[in-house]
């Protein structure tokens, strides 16, 4: 079998999809799984039957994992709160995400470890979403006792696209609104992972560096492109990019991961470090970069694919893009099977899959290699990649966002090469900013010029009649 991971990922996903739309109990699937496993053992020597049973078992594993993810832990805080619960809770725990300050509100995820109502106190677990009605500097891993009422999230939009569904996918079932700083009592000590604390500290430093060299708007855009921090991107810029179908460049993806791997590898090569150690160090740097950028689905996909490619290079094995992609999908879906229904996951995998499948076929049909001029060849290749990605994602975008942007292909031909340049300039700025600050000043001017050009092009393309339409 040439691509075992592809079939495995497909079977696993199929199990998740089936069980999501069918009312089947956990123990029924478990029983079927045990029977399938026994049959697979009995047919160990009959290759064809064994393979079929193994893939059947993989789909049951997916189904079981999804069912398991819906089951809350016995001590989960969500089990103690009823729908119309007006009781005031004192919750002890730590901040489990990097807090965001927006419109004078501070928003973060809180990992609950202890709960108290009146004089009753008990240890518990689970995550809640906290909104402070004021600005307060809070960092990841800081311990607090929060006082307030708890409520389940509202779901105003249709069930498939509601915010409630999004929070449920993240394993959050309750919200707490806090209006006074007296309800937030700091505690000593820190929770959370040390690796994440280090990554967030590094991200802060990098953001500060970008803000030192660039004004607010270019720094915000570059921060989104390099560090995955989209909070500083103005609403209008984001909206224009959705309309032109270029919002993907604000998502940290395979290209960024590739550049990080390349830079790290190059620096280590200059330092004359051996090949094996170089690859291992590159893998570690990719993992840190994944954490810096918030470990969203596209970054995890790109990081897993990058690591698989590097390990294949280390062990001198041939790589296959479909197998790598399937590996990444299996990794994400094993950690959280509900991500299969997340739009970010679907868009990320659909675009890469479409490029991997369609690009070679379209390339052999249009033959851009026959062009005499290098620039023409480059433009043609850009057009083909954009077209493939658009074909792969148009359906998902239309279904979820109710927007069709025929201008996407044109916008991407113009913007993707520019975004590539901006990303390269951004990484150069980050490195030179630390090593050689006076050079950083000049690099920042060129970077700002490219960002300005990108914003102008984006604003211009959406003014073309019929560029986009909502339905």
């Amino acid at each position: 079998m040439k691509r075992p991971f592809v079939i495995l990922a497909m079977s696993y996903s199929l199990g998740i999809i089936l069980v999501n739309y069918m009312r089947v109990g956990f123990w029924l699937i478990f029983g079927l799984g045990v029977i399938t496993a026994i049959l697979a053992c009995l047919n160990f020597r009959n290759n064809r039957i064994f393979v079929i049973l193994a893939f059947l078992l993989a789909s049951m594993l997916g189904a079981l994992n999804l069912k398991n993810s819906y089951m809350r832990h016995k001590c989960d805080i969500g089990n103690f709160v009823s729908y119309h619960d007006n009781a005031v809770y004192n919750l002890g725990g730590f901040v489990d995400s990097q807090p965001v300050i927006k419109n004078k509100n501070t928003i973060f995820v809180f990992q609950v470890q202890e709960a108290q109502v009146n004089n009753l106190k008990w240890p518990c677990c689970g995550k809640i979403f906290v909104r402070l009605g004021f600005s307060q500097v809070i960092n990841y891993a800081e311990r607090f006792i929060l006082t307030g009422t708890l409520r389940p999230p509202f779901g105003f939009s249709p069930a498939s696209r509601s915010y409630r569904r999004y929070l449920y996918t993240e394993g959050i079932y309750l919200l707490m609104d806090i209006e006074s700083s007296l309800q937030v009592i700091p505690q000593s000590g820190k929770g959370g992972s040390k690796m994440v604390i280090f990554s967030l500290w590094l991200r802060d430093k990098l953001e500060q560096l970008l803000r030192r060299y660039l004004s607010d708007l270019p720094a915000g855009i570059l921060s989104a492109m390099l560090l995955g921090q989209r909070n500083s991107v103005p609403w209008l810029v984001y909206d224009n990019m959705i309309k032109s179908g270029t919002v993907h460049i604000l998502v940290v993806s395979g290209f960024n991961v590739g550049i990080v791997a390349f830079i790290v590898n190059l620096i280590l090569k200059i330092m004359r470090i051996r090949r094996k150690a170089r690859i291992i160090l590159t893998v570690i740097c990719l993992l840190i970069y994944c954490l810096i950028t918030g470990a969203s689905n596209p970054v995890i996909r790109a990081t897993v694919m990058g690591i698989v490619f590097l390990l294949a290079y280390l062990f001198k094995r041939e790589t296959d893009i479909y197998n790598c992609l399937a590996c990444a999908a299996l990794f994400i879906l094993t950690a959280n099977p509900r991500q299969l229904f997340d739009v970010g996951f679907q868009l990320s995998f659909a675009s890469v899959l479409a490029i991997a499948c369609l690009y070679p076929k379209l390339k052999s049909f249009l033959r851009p290699d026959n062009y005499k001029f290098r620039l023409m060849r480059f433009i043609c290749e850009c057009f083909l990649v954009s077209l493939c990605a658009w074909i792969g994602t148009a359906g998902i975008i239309a279904h979820n966002f109710r927007i069709v942007s025929p201008v996407t292909v044109l916008a991407n031909i113009l913007i993707v090469p520019l975004a590539t340049l901006i990303t390269l300039c951004g990484f150069s700025l980050v490195i030179c900013g630390y090593l050689c600050p006076f050079l950083g000043r000049f690099l920042s001017i060129t970077t700002a010029m490219f960002i300005n050009l990108f914003l102008n092009i984006n604003a211009a393309v959406i003014k073309i009649p019929g560029a986009y339409f909502y339905f």
């Binding site: 419109n103 810029v237 190059l266 000043r441 000049f442 690099l443 001017i445 060129t446 010029m449």
Partner: protein, 109 residues
């Protein structure tokens, strides 16, 4: 001499070219202030001009209910152009929280 690989050569060339562009732009902007526009994005690219926005555009932002959007346009017709963003507070239906949200979306020239 340094033994550089093609990859290293490309990286060095790229860094030198963007630094060269930066120095040139920096120098030109000292001679002519208009050059600065090349690398300083205009405000209209990131925010909507409150004095030029139409009712349709306001509703397309999906940040305001239709009634409040109409009130903003009515205020502008009644009092003339907004002098500053602070004037938004005088529009009925825009409280402290909504004003904070709108501050990041609109600007007044």
């Amino acid at each position: 001499m340094l033994n550089l690989t093609p990859q290293e050569k490309r990286v060095i060339l790229f860094l030198l070219i963007i630094a060269f562009c930066g120095i040139t732009l920096n120098n030109l902007s000292k001679l002519d202030c208009r050059i600065k526009k090349l690398y300083s994005p205009q405000l209209r690219l990131s925010r909507i001009d409150l004095n030029k926005v139409t009712l349709n555009e306001l509703m397309m932002t999906r940040c305001l209910p239709e009634a409040t959007s109409r009130k903003i346009i009515a205020w502008r017709q009644e009092h003339g152009n907004f002098k500053s963003l602070e004037d938004l507070r005088q529009v009925k239906g825009i409280g402290e929280k909504r004003y904070e949200k709108l501050k990041g979306i609109f600007f007044v020239e």
